[in-house]
Symmetry: C2
Subunit: 415 residues, 2 copies
């Protein structure tokens, strides 16, 4: 399955059809009204369900795990586990079996099984994805060191890192996303319960993105600095997308065929400082207009940066240290990664500043051809670095999607 | 305006019309497909905006502030401030003017003004509400002690309270809700910025509810224990709704006409313990079925509890200490409050348990006829109390909605 679109499935269970039917009917009503304004719902007159938010679903099975090319969901949880003391390959196999069975059920909108908490009852799968990865330390603990990919070698240290090891790395990593916060929370609890005595939570983070339908048409996401973020992301329709993002069928190690490497960074935004800047100052830091993401050299969001153009003062219009310049693929030997982040906001930190920023997650066939070269460059001279702080880091090998009857990671664990 | 529905406005700005138009068109397509399943979006084929999520809006002006009878939004922020040292009535007036101007703009989907962070750009108002309240301590600090309502007398201590004073009460309280997390965050930052030197953040909490459209038809909410929660909420269509929830036009103090009192409790759920119970045990704690919220004595969610009915063993089917029995209005002299909570999940606490539960917010014309008698009763014998912990508490006087040209609280501050 080279077309990532085919990872999606059609579902037609009765409760989901209800949603689709409602959307159709309401659409007709709205259409007949000629586009007039809509009324908000009040407590005892709830709006008819208008959307396909609940009914959208991804398949658990496929060449690639879901949650990589899936449209970013409005709610996300990241959770890392370490195998428990004394647990090894046998426990890891049983755990991946349990997790795969649970993920398969939940992504189809079914209960997790006996003892389901009921938190997701009534809701559709809401585009739930549950994605599993292995950290560098997993391989020694399971006696699989010979199967450890070189791509999991530790990331280089960057001068701007202020990493908290307790919130970094981990033997196992799970990414959960859904367009309903209760569906996502339900999955998180089910995954934790499945861990049982085999694995202990190492760290856990919560994130969010824009809700489907909050904008009039789909837009590139904004981050909590207000910037359009992700314009240059590679698109699945581009011919070299698969090669850049996924390990090929002939790649090494063989168990990673169809897999991808995830780099995870908790990037705190120093919003109190950032928001002190004028709009012009902010735009010079980024190199793009805030309003529409267009390069400062003009055009629209998708116009290429004119990196050499100077203004009347003879200076570069997109400054030397502008984030967009330094991170541009053409400035990095074509290095490409698929960025698929969540924003985070964990209230107010001890020093009174907002504990908010970006749960940066990027996907690539090889971190040395994706995240690492770009981050090295940013680390040396990105104007944005004054306003962000990398607080945690993880690197995980995310195996290809399971075939029917397989569990995630089976080709590694039974190799 | 006694019809709370009239608080809603119709909006027809161009970018919002775009959303409505898209919803209509997509509805037609789905309708024509005869209710067949839908396809999830992939990264380069985003789904057409299907919904009115973005375009829904509440009016800032009206008899009551928005955010009380407004349908609960998928994302919420609560933030409490204390007036800064040396700040008094003059600073409070200026602050409420600034906040009102900002709330009015943001709720209409407009930028906050100069220095807007841009985080909400592209999105519609997404049913944003910003609701303001005054705590007991506000009145002394502004020289308005004579205007302080008796309803703001401290809540009684409850035996199960484990309240953190640093996360409780406050001079000023703001409730923000929106169906898009970035729109809500944008409003939170704008409100914080407006506070300037006049007020300092005392505490801040984040919450969430189900996304519109995640269920096939509108349902009573579930909480993170998986229980349907809010079945017995009074409905705006009920004849005594206004009398119970809002201070009447002839009420005292006069500046509270059209206002309401908000009781806020951070209720931690001890989910690791709760999830150890069997379904049957959980249902006996609550007195209702988990699947559909029906009383254990039968029927559907809205069927009345048969509190006297016994089973074959001669014991009450709805146990003596079941939560639904103890909190039933008929068991509490008709005490009624409008519960409008958000769930919260702040990751994992220091002891490894989930820091999750309910940001309980209830609204009533008089806390002594709403929250207090019910909580007193629950405090004495609710089976649920073993599984929850009240960690923070607030009580706020939320004045009526501003008329055109007024700011929130003007009738108090210029009294």
């Amino acid at each position: 399955m080279s077309d990532t679109g085919t990872n999606n499935i059609e579902i037609s269970r009765r409760r989901l059809l209800g949603t689709v039917g409602a959307a159709g009917a309401t659409g007709l009503v709205l259409g007949a009204a000629g586009g007039a304004g809509v009324r908000a719902a009040v407590a005892d007159e709830p709006a008819t369900a208008l959307t396909t938010v609940g009914s959208a679903a991804e398949s658990f099975h496929g060449d690639h795990q879901a949650g990589i090319t899936t449209a970013t969901q409005s709610r996300g949880h990241l959770i890392a586990f370490d195998l428990a003391h004394g647990a090894g390959l046998k426990e890891a196999v049983a755990l991946m079996r349990r997790w795969s069975a649970t993920a398969s059920r939940l992504m189809a909108g079914e209960p997790a099984g006996d003892g389901d908490t009921g938190v997701a009852l009534d809701a559709g799968p809401s585009l739930l994805t549950i994605t599993f990865g292995f950290g560098r330390t997993f391989f020694d603990r399971t006696g699989l060191a010979a199967q450890r990919p070189a791509e999991l070698d530790p990331l280089p240290a960057f001068s701007s890192d202020q990493l908290d090891p307790r919130r970094s790395n981990g033997d196992l990593w799970v990414q959960i996303g859904a367009n309903d916060a209760l569906v996502a929370f339900h999955a998180l609890r089910a995954i934790q319960k499945d861990a049982g005595e085999a694995a202990r939570v190492r760290w856990q983070m919560n994130g969010f993105n824009r809700s489907p339908g909050a904008t009039a048409q789909p837009m590139t996401a904004r981050n909590l600095m207000g910037q359009i973020d992700g314009t240059r992301n590679p698109k699945p329709s581009e011919p070299d997308f698969d090669r850049r993002i996924f390990v090929p069928a002939t790649g090494q190690p063989a168990w990673m065929a169809g897999g991808s490497y995830a780099v995870v960074r908790r990037i705190r935004m120093l919003l109190d400082d950032w928001e002190q800047l004028s709009l012009t100052q902010q735009e010079r830091v980024i190199g793009r207009r805030k309003s529409d993401g267009a390069p400062l050299t003009g055009g629209s969001e998708t116009t290429e940066l004119d990196l050499d153009r100077t203004g009347p003062d003879g200076k570069l219009i997109i400054p030397d240290n502008a984030h967009a310049r330094i991170s541009a693929p053409e400035q990095n030997g074509g290095a490409a990664m698929l960025r698929r982040p969540y924003s985070f906001h964990d209230g107010i930190a001890g020093d009174g500043t907002p504990d908010a920023g970006l749960l940066f997650i990027c996907w690539q066939a090889d971190p040395l051809k994706g995240f690492v070269p770009v981050q090295r460059k940013l680390d040396r001279g990105d104007a944005l670095s004054t306003f962000i702080r990398h607080e945690a880091s993880g690197l995980f090998a995310v195996p290809g999607g399971p075939r029917k009857g397989e569990y995630v990671g089976q080709r590694l664990l039974e190799s």
